[in-house]
Amino acid sequence: MRKDNRYTVIVLYCIIFYGLMLYKYINGMFLFQLQPSFFYTREDMFTWVFMQTGLHKWLLNNNAGCMLFDALFYTAPALYFLHYRNNQRTAFITAACMLVINWVYVQCYTLYPSNSIEGHTAWLLFPLIFMAQKQEMFKILLDGLRYFFLFFFVSAALWKLRQGGIFQPLQMSGVLLYQHTQLLTNSPEYWQSRVILWLVQNPWLAYTLYLLATLLELFFIVGFFTKKFDKLLVALFLLFLVMDYFIMRIPYFEVLPLLLTLYPGAGNNPVKDGGVLQPSNTPAISS
């Protein structure tokens, strides 16, 4: 088969997905390892309708059910990849199945004490793109997801302006204390506790970090106008994830697939990188 950009995106998606699968298994984050016994209803109208199915209750204290859900969720991308490799025309069927599986799994998973649904958006949206039957449609949808990814960051910066966090010099000290009270109180001698406490004790330094993070988020706005800085955006995104892990102790890695939207040439269009139009008789360049 022809290994086009779409094929590469699917392969990279699977690499990220299975890398994260391993990471989550080691950390006991599979559904059957979480052994859910109760749920926490969130303020989400789609979720409320979904909860009518009762699936979230069926999984409570149901180890076999949880294992089945894990098996479906973690095999879907591999099945899609195999289907796409063997028959591109009908692979959308597996993509549609993956869409349903991902939505059901993520809806249930995030109702239990695991982590927030916002971080799982990539798993909810990527199957939609894989459902595209034509190459051109796939590229257009991937470009759409790129805009969503840019919005994801830009809106976080705008929220900081709107809700006022950015105007409070003590904001980051407060955030660090809120996020790390347990670490600071039960492991005060640990190196990470010392670094965090030092930042709390130096609020301007902590605030500078908060300000830099906001500027980083805001910088993603350039992506709405040009693709010239996409490599820089990739670097900033990875920096954001690493800092989030070490300073906030937040493993936000589930959003990693969104990185693929910045993959060079994955969603190329008649406008070349940098927004420069190609002469009409020249094919669009994928870098």
Binding site: G28, D44, I140, V175, L177, T181, L183, T185, N186
Partner: protein, 182 residues
């Protein structure tokens, strides 16, 4: 194409980089166009209204609300076989696995009931609360949690206690608040 016309076109294209996307989408597939425009509108409306989400449209605040240092923090401490569990010995995911069930269980009954009574019933007219409100009792939770923790830590748990301890922040350090006898 003359150089000047080409430059003008380039400039125009740069300015319309984003709007061009919607044109491409519209030309490629009208249904997707409608779906994505709807997505954009709902996302913007929800961001303005700051209300309830509708998956997959959420708010991405990332600590945007004002959070200032407090004088007092209530800290959950978990003691297993007489020893306090320490965050440093666990990865963030593992620590979440230990603490989230405790934190959320304490709030879930009142929270779930409140969401059902004030929002779900009003907006969707669902009358059966059993799918939204959990019935797990404190005793059942304690028994479940002990087994769960035992499996996770891979040790036999003889004693387990969960305490909420007040800590005072004096601007520099967090210190456990001691109870005054007199």
């Amino acid at each position: 194409m003359p150089a000047d016309s080409y430059s003008c076109l380039v400039l125009k294209q740069n300015n319309n980089f984003t709007s061009m996307y919607l044109k491409r989408l519209f030309n490629a597939n009208k249904w997707w166009f409608v779906l994505i425009v709807l997505f954009i509108i709902v996302q913007l409306v929800m961001d303005v209204k700051q209300g309830i989400s509708i998956s997959p449209i959420y708010h991405y605040g990332m600590y945007s609300a004002v959070i200032l240092p407090q004088k007092e923090y209530m800290v959950t401490e978990i003691n297993v076989n007489g020893k306090k569990l320490q965050t440093k010995n666990f990865t963030p995911y593992q620590w979440d696995r230990i603490t989230l069930p405790v934190d959320l269980f304490n709030r879930q009954q009142s929270w779930n009931t409140q969401v059902f009574n004030t929002e779900i019933k009003r907006l969707l007219h669902f009358t059966d609360s059993s799918k939204y409100v959990d019935t797990l009792t404190g005793q059942q939770f304690n028994s479940w949690y002990k087994n769960y923790l035992s499996e996770m830590l891979r040790i036999k748990i003889d004693s387990l206690s969960i305490n909420t301890v007040p800590y005072i922040f004096d601007g520099n350090n967090l210190t456990a608040q001691t109870k005054q006898l007199f």
